[in-house]
Symmetry: C2
Subunit: 325 residues, 2 copies
């Protein structure tokens, strides 16, 4: 059994707790939180809660810590600290800061003699793997990543900061017609506006000017002004009943040529009812890999590019060759 | 530069020759054939041809041999012999015999101190990787592999053996309606007949009884009797102009659940104008990986499950983290 700890108990941590129950070779030892552990109630198990300051007491009792904090402030602080004590897995997803994050975590993990799998999940993660795979196989080609249909937390937050907005949610929607053109062999140059739509569902405060809210949203730089954005006003009840889920997904498509212009298309896609639960499931599979790598004597920070796929499965190499190859 | 040799110069070998020209870090040294090398003319380069018996003279001059023979008789004979002398890559695709093939090749490669990447391509190969990945992430779920639309050599050969048939080609066609059901979240139990159609294009010999040919084909056990099969009679000219290509492709779809029944769907798909050229491109990327593994000191037979994806790319690990993660 691989003994697992969870650090952070938001949507992602709760997803990891549930995902562990789907894997017979993994066992949840404790959930670490910055909140008062005595007030915490587990969602998917009867898990033990501990304050994060107690983590060190679990050295020898936990094989892998799955870090479920956010990328803005939690992980840059927590991963290097925990990586000195345990093998870790995280979903650090600020793409531009990954090289820097890698260096810091690598140093910490090497010092501690542990393996830290960083930046896994689906993007970065599975999408990255497919970008790498497709580029390596089809060096002459063009690549597209589409996200959605799914909820963007950052854009939803931006809506909620608009004066007169009580609540709201934003869906990023890939433009299906463009994807169909790529699937049929075209390799268009696409502007930001041509790839994704942004759909906003907004609950306005009583008496607020809806036209002003709409104009503020669609013209917001960085977030909406470069996109075709729709704003739909709905009731608080409708928001709760129709928009409480956290669906997401997307596509990585590479359209390449071989030989004398033969078109070759590689596509990877996800359609997720729950973004945090899916990301959690990826983290759990990589927790298994982290433990294996550590047992093999590896040390330091690793990414999805460094890890043989076989390490993600509970099955033996011989079984995988027989059943899945 | 990674120095590459090709063994076998059919469609796959010609594809490898062309794929090498798309990769700046690979160099084709020689093509080995059982035919008379002096009568061979290269298709994509000005390659040097050698008789296969001359392979041993290239020890030290070739880093990786890409074996492009067939799985029925060529590879079981050639891979173990060549694996004692060089790093190798092959596309052995008789799924049921992979465990046995692995053992034989592993012994030979370990004796020679080389790395042999076996059974790569797209199925086995990329499809296998996606089966493993999706199963590991979503342990509770159901998986589907669909092939096509594409030419099946085995079924085309079977048609051509029917009395009265002069020439013919068979397409395996996935049933789109069923794929759409799975994509929308259903997990049906599917019979063979429900997953794929078989479309046959047949040139009949003059005076042959078309009804008899049709009946013989659609009732042929193992090949056609379990499928909905269509037989269309065409002229020899039409066969040449419309059916000379070797398209293929397919889908691996896993439909799983997490948490309290949240649906999560992972899909990988290929749409290929040229099956042999695409397979060749996969082999070439794995030739790079074989050389890297060998330089790192690895020995023995390896599959796509054993090899970190980063080894497929000519880019450095730091560049990959910065650009693709």
């Amino acid at each position: 059994m691989i003994k697992v700890g969870i650090v952070g108990y938001g949507n992602l941590g709760k997803g990891v707790e549930k995902a562990i129950t789907q894997n017979d070779d993994l066992e949840l030892v404790a959930i670490f939180t910055r909140r008062n552990p005595e007030q915490m109630v587990a969602e998917g198990t009867e898990a033990r809660f501990e304050h994060i300051s107690a983590a060190e007491q679990y050295i020898g009792k936990i094989d892998v810590m799955i870090l479920c904090g956010g990328s803005a402030t939690d992980l840059p602080e927590q991963t290097p600290v925990i990586a000195k004590l345990f093998n870790t897995v995280d979903s650090f997803d600020t793409h531009a800061k990954i090289p820097e994050f890698y260096e810091v975590v690598n140093t910490a993990a090497e010092q501690g003699g542990h393996v830290s799998v960083i930046s896994t999940g689906w993007d970065p993660g599975l999408f990255s793997m497919n970008r790498l795979l497709a580029q390596s196989i089809l060096p002459e080609g063009k690549e597209y990543t589409f996200w959605g249909k799914g909820v963007s937390q950052g854009h939803s937050d931006a809506i909620r900061r608009v004066p007169g907005v009580k609540a709201g949610v934003q869906y990023t929607v890939p433009v299906e017609e463009v994807i169909d053109r790529i699937r049929s062999g075209e390799t268009p140059e696409l502007s930001t506006r041509e790839k994704h739509l942004r759909q906003c569902y907004v609950v306005a405060e009583e008496g607020a000017n809806q036209d002003e809210i709409r104009a503020t949203i669609v013209n917001m730089p960085n977030y909406f002004s470069d996109y075709d954005t729709t704003v739909t006003f709905i009731s608080e009840e409708e928001l709760k009943s129709e928009h409480a889920g956290m669906p997401h997904g997307g596509f990585v498509i590479r359209s390449g040529v071989t030989g004398n212009g033969q078109k070759q298309i590689i596509e990877f896609g996800l359609k997720l009812d729950s973004n945090p639960e899916f990301t959690a499931s990826v983290l759990v599979a990589y927790a298994r890999a982290a433990q294996r790598l550590s047992q093999e004597g590896h040390k330091g920070a690793k990414t999805v590019f460094d890890i043989p796929l076989g390490h993600l499965s509970p099955k033996s190499a011989a079984d995988l060759r027989r059943d899945l190859l």
